[in-house]
Amino acid sequence: MSRWRPGPISIIVFVAALLPMCELMLPQSAHITEAVRGVFLYAILALGLNVVTGYAGLLNLGIAAFMAIGAYAFAILTCEIYPFQFGFWPGLLLTLPIGALFGFLLGAPTLRLRGDYLAIVTLGFGEIVQDVLKNLDTITKGTQGINPVPAPSFGGSMWTADDEYKWYYLLLALMVVVILGVRNLERSRLGRAWFSIREDELASRSMGIRVERIKMLAFSAAAAIAAFAGGISASMLSSTGEPSNYDFQVSVLALCIVIVGGIGSIAGVLVGALVMIGLNSIVLVKATAALDALGIGAQGNVLLSPNNWKYLIFGLALVLAVRLKPHGLVPPRIERRAS
């Protein structure tokens, strides 16, 4: 192991850790920690997607489905209207194996598919999961969503939405844990096998890589991380929300983060999450507020409601990113020296 040097990841985490303290010096209206929490949450989701799409090169368009599975599993395990009533931490930890199991169930039959077919199957899976969650209303309460979902409690009292900074640091810490886990896998035999099947599946198979197993692990790891993100989000919002909260748009947002940030790069995912969620939940929200203050809000014209530009922004982000920055804003670290 070489000497530790602060890389982009540790700098981002460090700045994020200092942010609330700097923010307290600013007036209330300039506070952004609540939105930054969203950055952390989506960064976790996108780190999961990055494992399967960035490392193993398998386009997964149904990552939001695993987030939904995680959220509902967490809610059913912890919520007091169900008999299981696990605490926050056991419940959150259980989302990992549950997510992995569903990843396995989706992955097992589809691993032999070509890349683009796999994309479609995962997309379809994302739709099926929404439909199933909506239709099995005996279990999932249908479109109401499950609530209240418990929050963590340290020292007796359970957190509420007012404990802004506690949530902030909890999410930051969980994101750091996920980053460490993903980084450890990336820099291992398994990570190398993922890269090799992305580069040339047949060659890596001929080198003795068990491609099915490796792909399966990528799928399950991604699903587990996404389910973990789902559990956190349900706890943070104290509700799973309705199943259509986990629709294709969420999957594409995660894809945008990975593609814009830098496919296969952890630092890229963090930067991508900052850019995309920054646009989505900070710039657009503030712009809406500003327009409302000026009295030309959503009622007037479809073009004047910034929320209506979301699809366009995501779409343009994807098209422009693959065209202009195919390796993303922070490409993965590979030696590309010419010889």
């Binding site: 190398r192 890596s204 080198m207 692990l217 010889s339």
Partner: protein, 344 residues
């Protein structure tokens, strides 16, 4: 000792017979060359031997063993288990709401302790009830689908390239297939993958075992790169290598698996005469290190210079087999192949 025995290999694509009835034996630590005009079926033969294609008929044995997985009790148990799992899960999946109602909702009262034993009993009763009321058909259907899928999966994975690679057969490709975005060291490390033992958890948790193994294989891969003369570029991306050096890296990657047999598909293609001399030295050194070498090649000087025995293919059939001197003296070979080669 024979390292490789191919008996009556035939590969057919639709109506086209690419390889017909080819039989040969490679002794241990031999250098064995397969030659023939373009389109003679040499690469197809390699692909059939390494599991990329399924031979239409015939058998390949490495060190006297067929690599093909045979049907065993373990396979049967696995198929039966997956049939059972699919039967049960399809039964549950199609009636999940009723089961939930009977098991959870009917037993749970808000904030009361949950009667686990009773509810498990209810769940069992509900399942039995389902089986009686037509659910059996669902279960049977699901079981057949699950068992069938497992059987198909097993059938398809009987003879995959990774299985053959793990049995100690490594290869290179005619149109070089490196992992271009990975560094040279990483390319070699992929070749070593199946010799590594540290798995998912030790990587995730960074257990001591992971560090030991990493150190060991990293130094071994640098040694191997030194062996093929690429150590000074160890951290460059493979895609940045010039063409001639890529073949060396591919050979290093194949050697990384510590194979008993290494199959080289046109290793000298695109090389200049001095590079070919280097390559010949390399091939001899590989053999001297204890590896059997099988190669496809067009450069007659290389073939005649290094091979112990030669197999000649034409239009998918074998027309001769023997030592270089015998092949050179064989009129059919000279006519088919050597006669057209100016520097033969």
């Amino acid at each position: 000792m024979t390292a490789l025995r191919a008996s009556a290999i035939t590969v057919r694509f639709g109506g086209l017979v690419a390889v017909q009835d080819v039989t040969f034996t490679v002794g241990e630590k031999q250098i064995y060359a397969v030659i023939g005009p373009n389109g003679a079926g040499k690469t197809t033969l390699f692909n059939a031997m390494t599991g990329i294609y399924e031979p239409t008929s015939g058998e390949v044995q490495f060190a006297g063993r067929s690599v093909c997985l045979t049907f065993s009790t373990r396979v049967a148990v696995r198929i039966a288990l997956s049939a059972l799992a699919c039967a049960l899960s399809s039964l549950i999946a199609l009636n999940v709401q009723d089961l939930w109602q009977a098991t959870i909702i009917d037993n749970y009262q808000y904030a009361q302790p949950f009667p686990w034993v009773e509810s498990a009993h209810d769940c069992f009763d509900a399942l039995v009830g389902l089986m009686r009321s037509g659910g059996a058909w669902t279960a049977i259907l699901g079981g057949v689908a699950g068992g069938g899928a497992a059987a198909v999966l097993w059938w398809r994975s009987r003879r995959t390239p990774d299985l053959i690679a793990r049995a100690g057969v490594a290869r290179t490709f005619q149109n070089i297939r490196l992992f271009n975005e990975l560094s040279l060291v990483q390319n070699v490390l992929v070749g070593m993958d199946h010799r590594m033992r540290a798995g998912f958890w030790s990587a995730l948790m960074r257990l001591p075992r992971f560090h030991d193994e990493r150190k060991h294989f990293h130094s071994e891969s640098v040694e191997l790169l030194t062996f093929v003369g690429l150590a000074d570029r160890a951290d460059y991306a493979a895609g940045s290598l010039p063409y001639g050096l890529r073949r060396r890296l591919e050979i290093a990657r194949a050697l990384a698996a510590k194979p008993n047999i290494i199959l080289l598909d046109e290793p000298a293609a695109g090389m200049n005469p001095s590079e070919i001399v280097d390559l010949m030295t390399l091939i001899r050194r590989v053999r001297d290190a204890g590896t059997t070498v099988v190669l496809i090649e067009h450069h007659m000087r290389l073939v005649m210079g290094v091979s112990d025995r030669i197999l000649v293919l034409q239009y998918g059939r074998q027309i001769a087999e023997g030592t270089p001197a015998e092949i050179r003296a064989n009129p059919a070979c000279v006519e088919a192949y050597l006669g057209t080669e100016s520097h033969g």
